[in-house]
Symmetry: C2
Subunit: 211 residues, 2 copies
């Protein structure tokens, strides 16, 4: 490719990015060095800064630069509702709906036996602790009461369903109401083009049209 | 996604990478911060180091950390042959064949009228200067004689062909022999599965089977 060891080091470092193979990495290194050196420096700085400053929220475990994230610290949110999601991107999708005013718990992963990820890897003990209510880690007068309803919003994939199942099992007998996002036909879709599994679930989970 | 401005800065900086959109960037940032902080730091360092140390070879314009790259400095290469390629990846592909012992000239681009890239953007004046022979920029006793044969190895795309065409035009009357990689059926392929344009070219460029 070139005799530059710095170029090769950059190419191999780019492979730490998920989904980037040898050829993509070489293409990225070429692009940055030939066309966007300012962007490369900006990325270098952003990486170092993020690694240094991004930590996990003490309450919901999402990424934040503070001890408690803005969502958890917001006094206007319903603190007895906790929505469990796999990662911050899923949390963002729920936030964009504007339909949820409770708090979140971000697993930062999911159960995946094939990848060797079990209940401990999704922070199940921390979730159980969180459900009991917590005093504010910031030692303000704010209080986080015990959670009354836990909404499972893990993905509707095999791994997301397994994760939801394990959480349901772990919460049996705690008295916390556990709900799950409904499965069904996506809004705006025509039945002709919806996959059969979804239609089957929508039939099983059908609701009264008179509500 | 999260309330972390460092996370958002990282996500937007990752979009400087070619082919990375909003969702990919968020996924990459999440992966690095959650699973590979050491990799993120390594990438940060590699970017800064590459931007600082990678320059262009004074002779062939490829990436190098030296004034003259190892290939150009190699006294065992045939210096009257110059192979013109679009970028270092193409050069690497030719090197891997082991079938070429001459020197290279790396355009670091190609003519692309749609992107506003003309002859000046591929360093045509520098190529013409290089063809006349050069004294060693390192002021050693090495010498780079005038080029006798220029092999066009730009890609066989519309833009690569246009680039080759422009170079051929520019070299008219200089006395330099200009050749082009042959077009034809890829080695190991069955005609049934080869595209028609390739077969048509292979017919037109057919060669004597008695050589």
């Amino acid at each position: 490719m070139s005799d530059s060891s710095a170029f090769h080091a950059l190419t191999s470092a780019l492979r730490h990015l998920p989904g980037v193979g040898v050829k993509s990495a070489a293409r990225m290194a070429y692009h940055l060095l030939q066309h966007d050196r300012a962007g490369a420096l900006q990325l270098s700085t952003a990486l170092a800064h993020a690694v240094e400053s991004v930590r996990h929220c003490a309450l919901c475990h999402t990424f934040t630069e503070h001890i408690v994230c803005d969502t958890c610290a917001d006094p206007n949110r319903e603190r007895t509702q906790l929505c469990v999601v796999e990662n911050p991107a899923d949390q963002a999708a729920l936030e964009r709906t504007g339909a949820y005013q409770g708090l979140f718990f971000v697993l930062m992963g999911r159960i995946s036996p094939l990848d060797g990820l079990g209940p401990a890897d999704i922070g199940l003990p921390r979730l159980l602790q969180r459900l009991q209510g917590m005093t504010d880690p910031l030692h303000t007068d704010q209080h986080y009461p015990a959670v009354k309803e836990l909404i499972l919003a893990t993905n509707f994939t095999a791994e997301g369903e397994a994760t939801a199942h394990v959480i349901v099992q772990a919460l049996r007998g705690t008295g916390v109401q556990v709900t799950r996002l409904s499965r069904g036909v996506p809004v705006g879709s025509e039945l002709e083009y919806v996959d059969l599994g979804t239609i089957a679930h929508a039939l099983v989970d059908r609701r009264s049209a008179q509500d």
